[in-house]
Every structure is written in structure tokens, then in C-alpha cells.
Subunit: 288 residues, 4 copies
């Protein structure tokens, strides 16, 4: 768990010898969130990010784009220049620029402005700017830092502990949808929309996960019988990941009891932080 | 938990010096549910509320409205006048009218008749009268009061304890649907119904939550592959809120720790069967 | 829990003074499942029930009904006469016919043949014969009786223990769909299929439960935003009944430890059925 | 649980007297995964299996089949010959060929090449080759063998422990969909797509499992009311399998009991830290 904390909020690129005073100060503002300036920088950044994501989204709506296209385009370039400057400043004031550039946030920061420049070459690339929303993950740094990071770590820790079980589960799901998809392809055929095995597997996933678009549906009695089977299967095996994750969280919530026994009366099952026996009051922990 | 009990069934507006006898009696009937008159008032009120909600609903059905429109309109005005009078009586007999008016039920009580008057100015406003159904939450006050409130408190308490985890979860969901929605907008385009990023994000929510209307569905192989990914993701991460809530309820069901504090060092949170303080070894249980 | 066992497999109608020998014997065959004859009667009955349900189902398929209509009609009358005779025999050999006739299985047994006679008066009534499938619940009596009844009791016991929490949950769901349904009715209107409040409430239920037929879907941006809200709500609050039921089952699975402490060494936390202290071997239970 | 391990990774067909040296060596390569040659054989096999599954899938896409049909057909025959040879080699080098041929993997291995030969007689049979994907279950043997098998065993063990509860649950689901399907058939009739009871039962399954294709939807108010009932039922009773499985996993995660049996009275199932038998007080742990 502690491992994860380190990885998610990795500051390795900021460890090492001190920088020149102005770079040190800039570093505190941009990367830190303890000082007043750092906190304000973070809040401003998040607001700007959200505004820029909304601008990209609105620009994609035809009716809005027609009316306010020019202003949105200008805003977009403004945000992009801002993020470019910010990225360059981060590279300048960080201790190990190359490690930062390859870190999770380093890559996200780059992707948050690059697509607009790429849109000169590839039409539509500018819409990938919405990836900026991932930058807001930084929000957890300012909103009561410790608490939220702790909660995230419990959730991610339980996920990591059950990753092997989840892998086994996902593989089983893939095997089920492949076999059922192929069966339905054979039974239903072109007319009902099951025009190829990949498409039928897509249908099986849509059905097993209980999404059920209805764009492809079986029409033969046998096909409907198999579809009903996969539905009930999907309805029942949702219990598997839920059970795995619930059990893992229940376990991580439990405070284990100490296995130290009292030297005087032999009672065990004390709380982990107990210093004295709950039965006879004898001291049970070493004077460490 | 105790906190919540206070907040949901807040009677602060009714605390203070005694009122004149008739206002005191009216108060007991309208706000109380212990006396026979108070109980009958509550039951009558709930029946009238449910009838009025049904009347609003029926009035919205074109075929019924044509035939019984006049009678429904008259009924509606009758109910509204009744609730208006009731609201005024509540204001009169309560100890602190202003606190009541701003409390949860105070606002609901106001909204339960206001829309009909507003319907003179805004067409359709009268349909908001269905908000009256929220008034029936009061039902928990009469149906074996203590038990139901206790159950509600356990459920809400577990929700409140896991609110930070749920917030982290919801933010992740929003980030996923934004990124996937934008990807599908780029890949599928206008023809398949992905006409703008907000609409594509709407599609991503419909898919991730396994609702799956089928009004917008991907038609390209790559789009269907990404859709399958988001479906399996949605199918698997339903485990997260379920796991959080289950684990929280399991914890709240488990034998609590004793609330006896040590007289010597003040430590509390001892095991229920502890005889000696785990911090200082002082005896904590009476020689009973 | 024991209560439930009694209620589900209630044999009160069979308690009392002994009957004449032949009625006693018939009773053992029809109501009992311990004797060989009783077991064979039960198995035959279940097979006949399933066959008759299949016959009713096939008769409803137009193409099959055309070809095999006569034979299916004859079979149906055969099954119905059989069940009528069986019902009369049950009434004859039971100790308290009137109590049997009003019990759960007594009513189901009556409904399992009555509709065919009623079909003379009401067209279509014969299709209600599928209610016969409920008679197969008796299967639990023969399939390793005790084990299955035990499992059913654990499941039903946990449901009963959480019935108040589930009631609170269901009421909240109803309040949510009423309010959201009315809002969507106001926003979307006739064109999108939201033609009345009851229909809009129906749509809200389809959406909240993540069924998502797609026969009615919002088309305005505001409507889609509210729909997305109700979807995420539905996706998240599925955690509530699941959490309630999981926590209840986890509780019912746990074997509590004894609170007896050893008189010699003071160790507590023994297993409930322990006779000797696990720490020092001293006898801990009274010689009762 | 230990039982399951034996069954899933059954090597009974490989137990017995040693074989001639070259068969022994071949056996180690094909059935074993400890030696370098055995590991490489397994990895190559899995890659070939996945490639052949992809080839079958691509061949089913009309546009791809037209262009690359010949090459895919040749590849398919190559894979099939390869698997045929592999199957024969397995039969040759295994100790008890007949037991292998009837084991889970023996049957899967046969099905993985047979359909192509059968496609001479039955058109479309070659698509069943995707069943090959099940062969990849062998992957668990090489990917950190012990850990994954352990995880699978926990998941399957919990499923087996709850199989009776799940059976009771599935039967209830079938009873519900039969009764509701028949009701909707009576109420809605031909026009809305409810053309027969089996089709209406199919609709009820689609609705109860919250799949919701929308190909058949009720249109009468009463039908929609019943549909809403079955939706909320389906939404709520998903809690049952999830609760069962979660509770079972929570139990399997909890500290197990010791498997030491008392030498005096034979009682097992002592607590892990017990020093004396709970039945007769005899010391059960070695003086280590």
C-alpha cells in the first residue's frame, strides 16, 4: 500500500541537490502545494483546465461551433500557449527534467497541449485535448491531501491485491464471449446482424455485461435460448468481481489482533497497540 | 451516526419556551405523532399527499385529462388550498417559524403547493407538484418510528463514512467517460450518432453504467472494440461502489468496542471484555 | 429462522388425531416424502407438472399450435383432470381440509387447474396454467431435503432481517423515479415519447435499473444530462441492496466465539463448543 | 478445495510405471512445464492457438475472407494438421491414453481440430474451431503456476460452497420469469412482439437481467407497470448471488482453523493457536 502512495504521487524527479534560489521558488509554486502561492497556482490551474476542457467540448457541437467558433478557437490557442509555457517552466525548475518528462504527470502534461499543434497535420487531433481532464487528478493534492490520498490508496490497494483473481475472471469472460459469439454466428447468421465472428463476440460482450443495445438481437428460438443463457450467466457472474473486491475491502478494514500472549495469565487476542494485558493488567509489550 | 439522527429528524425549530395552550395543542397534532390526534393527522396527511400525487400524474395523461380534466383540476386546487392552510398553520404553531421555513421539510412543504400558483405564470409548473411525494418521507415517523429511523441511520451512516471513497470513484468514472467519449467521437463521427463530444460522453455514460439504450451505437470495428472495452470496464468497476458499501456495512454490523474510558489515562476504545486499560494497566471495569 | 422453516413447509393442516387407515396411507403418499411410495409420487408429480407447463407454452406458439393444436389440447385436458383428481384426493386425505385449502400450496394447487375451466368463460385464461411451475417448489422436499431447506432458510432469513432496510431503499427509489420522471416529462415532452408523467416514471425506472430498452430516450441536451445523472445514480445505488444483503449474510455466516473465560488461566475467546481451555487444558464448561 | 486442485489440473493419466526413455522425454516436453523445453513448448502452443483463433475469426468477416480467403484457408489447414499431430503425440507419450482422451483437456484438444474435418460434411462446422480458446486455459500452468492456480481454486471453491444457494436462486429466477412472461403474453399480445409464451419468457429474462435490448417492449399501461415491477425485482435480487458469493469469499479469507487432530480423541478444527484439545484437554501441539 505504502508502495502505491509513492508511485502515484511520485516526486522522485524533484529529489536531489538544491537549485538556484529562483528555480527553487518556482519549483515550490508549480510542484508544491504547501505554500499559499503553490495552493493558488494549483487552484487556478484546475479551473483553467476545466474551462479548457469545456471549450473543447463546446467546439465539437456543430451549432455552437458555427456561432462562437472564432472565440472558441482563440480561447483554445490561449489555453494551449498557457499550458506550453507551464510545461516549459516545469522542465526548467524541476531537478531531473528527463525523469519528470517520462513520469505519469509529465506525459499527461505534454499530451494536454500537443494535439492542437498536431491538428495542423491531422484533422480532428485537437479533440484529444480533453485528455487534459486527467490533469485534474492533481486536485487530490489540494483537497485535504492526506485523507483523499489515503482513501485512494485503500481502493487501489484492494484492487492490486485482487489483480490476479480479476485477471482469471477477465480471461473466463473472454473465453465465454468467444465461444457464445461463435455459436450465435453459426445459428443466427447474416440476417439478424451476426455478420462475422468478431461482430458476434461484440454482441456477446454487449449481452453478458447487461448493456443490451439492441442493435443486434437474436431472432431464432435457439439463438434466443442461448442469449437467455448468456444473460443469466452475466447476471450471476457479476457476483464474482463484486465478491472479490468486497471480500478484499472487508479484509483491509479489519484491524487484526496481536498474537502476543500475556506472560502472567496467558491471555492472547489483544489489540495491536495494547501495552497492558486486558485480563490482569500485566505489561505485555517490551520496553522498546 | 447520532449526529445524522438529529439532522434528519431535526426538531430544533420546536425547542424553546412553551406556547399558548391552543398553539401548543395544534403543535402536538401537526408536528407530533405520539398522541392519537397527531397519529391520525399524520395518516390522513400521507393519504391526501398520495392522492394528490396520483391526481397530478393522471392529469398529465392526455386521454384522461380530456375526459376528467375539470374534476382533476378542481381536486388539484382543493389539495393545494389544503396544503397552503396546513403550511400557514405550521408557521403559526411552531416555536421558531423562520428556522422551520428553512429546514428540509419546511422547504418541501412550501414546494408542495407553490407550483400551482406559479402555473399562472409558467405553463407546466403545476407538474412539479409531484415533489409532494418527498413529504411522505414523514411516513417513517409513524411506522414504528424508532426502528425505521435506526435502519435509515445505519444506511446513511455507512454512506457518509464512505463518501470520500465514493467521490474518488465518481471522479474516476467522469474521467473515463470523458476520454472514451472523445475517442469515440473521433472514430465514429456524425453518421453513427456521435455528433459532438458532449453527446459522445452521454453515450459513454449510457454504456459504462450498462444502461445501453441503443439510440447511439458504434458501427466501425475500432469503435465497437473500444465500446467493448468500456462495457467490460463498467461491468467490472460496479464492484467498486458495491465493495465499498458492503465493507462499510459489514464493519458497522460488527461488535463495537467498549465506550468505557480509563479513569487513569483517559484511553477509550477498549475491547468489550477488557478488565484492564491497554495503555496503563489500570483496572477499568467495576468489581460487579 | 426456525419460524420461516415452519411457515414455508407448514404441515399444520396435517396435525391432529389419526385418520382411518386408508386415508392415513394416502396421506403418507401424497403429503409425505419419506416412504418409497411418497418419493415416487413426488418425482412423478414434478415431471407431470413440468410436462404440462411445457405443453401450455408450446400451445401459445402459433406455428406449433396450428400443427399440433388438437394433441396439445387433449394433453392439457388430461393434465388438468389429473390435477383436479389430485386436489380432491388431497382434500379427502388431509386432516384439516379447510386449513390446507387456504395454505400457500393449497392455493397454488387450486390455481394449477382452475384456469382451464375458467377458459370457457374468459378467453386466454388457460395460459395462466403456467403458474403450475410454482408447484415445483415442492422439489426442495425431495432433493436432499434438509440441506436445501437449510440453504433456502439462510437466504430468506437474511432477506427478512434486512426487510426494513430494503423497504427504506425501495421507497427512496420510488421517490427518485417520480421526481426525475416528472422533470423529464416537463423538459422532453411528447415528441421524445415522454407523453405523460406515468410513462416518464416508467422511463425513469427503465433507466435507473440500467435496463435501458431505448423505446423512450431523451433528445434535448438538458434531458440527456438529467438522464446521465439518474444512470450514474442507478449505477451507484445498486451498491445499497447488495451491501445490505452481503453484510447480512456475512453476519449469518460468522460463528461467534464463546465469552467463557478459563478459570485457571483466564483465557477467553474459546470456540462455542469447547469443553477444555485451549491454553492450559483446564475444563471450562460446567458438567451440565 | 484441495479436491478441486486435483480435479482441474488432473494428471492422473500420467501416473504409473515409467515409460521408455524417448516417450518419457516427449512426455516431459508436452505435458510438463518445469523443464526449459516444456516451457517453450507451452508458450509456442499458446501463441499458435491464439493465432489460429484469430485466423478463424478473420475468415468469418466477409470483406477479409474475399481478399485473403486462400491464405487464411491454407493457414487454417496448417494449424489443424499441427494440432492433429500434437494430439497423436499426446496419445503416444501419455501413460494412460484412454483416461487422457476422456479428461477435460483431452476432449478440448480433440475438438480443437476435429471441426475442420467435419466441415467437409457440415457447412459452417469450421467456425467451431474457436473452441480452441479454451485450450489457452493451460496458460495458468506457466504464468507463475502455483499462485494463479491458488487464486482460481479460491474462486471456484467459493462457487462450489455456494452451489446449493445459487441453485435455489436460479430456480426462483426461472419461476419469476415464467410467471411474468405468461402475464405479459396475456396482457400485451401479438402487436407488441409478445407473440408466444416462450418469447415472452425470453423478454422477461432480458428485462430481469437488466440487459434490455428493446426489441420487445410493453406498450399498454398495465404491461409497463408489470415490466417496472420485474425491473425493480431484477435490480434488487442481483443482491442475492452477489451477497452469497461475497459472504462465501469473506469466510474463505478469514483465518482458517488448524488441521491438527487430537491424538487422544481425534477432534480436529481447533483454533490455530490452541495448545490443548477443546474436547478432552489433551495437549495437541508439539513442545517446539
Amino acid at each position: 500500500m505504502t508502495n502505491k502512495k509513492v508511485r502515484l504521487h511520485d516526486q522522485r524527479f524533484n529529489q536531489g541537490e538544491p537549485l538556484s534560489p529562483w528555480r527553487e521558488k518556482l519549483n515550490g509554486i508549480i510542484f508544491g502545494s504547501e505554500s499559499t502561492a503553490g495552493k493558488w497556482f494549483d487552484i487556478t490551474l484546475i479551473i483553467v483546465i476545466l474551462l479548457s476542457v469545456i471549450a473543447v467540448m463546446l467546439d465539437s457541437v456543430a451549432s455552437i461551433s458555427e456561432q462562437y467558433g472564432t472565440i472558441l478557437r482563440i480561447l483554445e490557442w490561449g489555453f494551449t500557449l498557457l499550458f506550453t509555457v507551464e510545461y516549459i517552466l516545469r522542465l526548467i525548475c524541476v531537478r531531473k527534467p528527463w525523469i519528470y518528462a517520462r513520469s505519469f504527470y509529465g506525459i499527461i502534461d505534454l499530451i494536454s497541449f500537443l494535439p492542437l499543434y498536431l491538428s495542423f497535420f491531422f484533422a480532428g487531433a485537437q479533440y484529444m485535448l480533453v485528455i487534459r481532464i486527467l490533469r485534474v487528478l492533481r486536485i487530490f493534492r489540494i483537497l485535504k491531501l492526506v485523507e483523499y490520498v489515503g482513501e485512494t490508496n485503500v481502493l487501489i490497494g484492494a484492487l492490486l491485491n485482487s489483480r490476479r483473481k480479476i485477471f482469471v475472471f477477465l480471461y473466463s469472460v473472454l473465453a465465454i464471449v468467444t465461444v457464445f459469439g461463435s455459436l450465435l454466428f453459426l445459428i443466427e447468421g447474416e440476417a439478424a446482424g451476426f455478420s462475422s465472428i468478431p461482430k458476434s463476440v461484440y454482441w456477446a460482450i454487449v449481452t453478458l455485461t447487461t448493456v443490451g443495445y439492441g442493435d443486434i438481437t437474436p431472432i431464432t428460438p435457439l439463438g434466443q435460448f442461448l442469449a437467455a443463457t448468456i444473460m443469466i450467466l452475466g447476471y450471476a457472474i457479476i457476483a464474482v468481481p463484486t465478491g472479490i473486491y468486497s471480500a478484499e475491502l472487508v479484509r483491509s478494514f479489519q484491524t487484526p489482533l496481536s498474537n502476543v500472549a500475556c506472560k502472567n495469565c496467558g491471555t492472547s487476542g489483544h489489540q495491536i497497540d495494547a501495552h497492558y494485558c486486558r485480563e490482569c493488567g500485566t505489561q505485555i509489550d517490551e520496553e522498546a
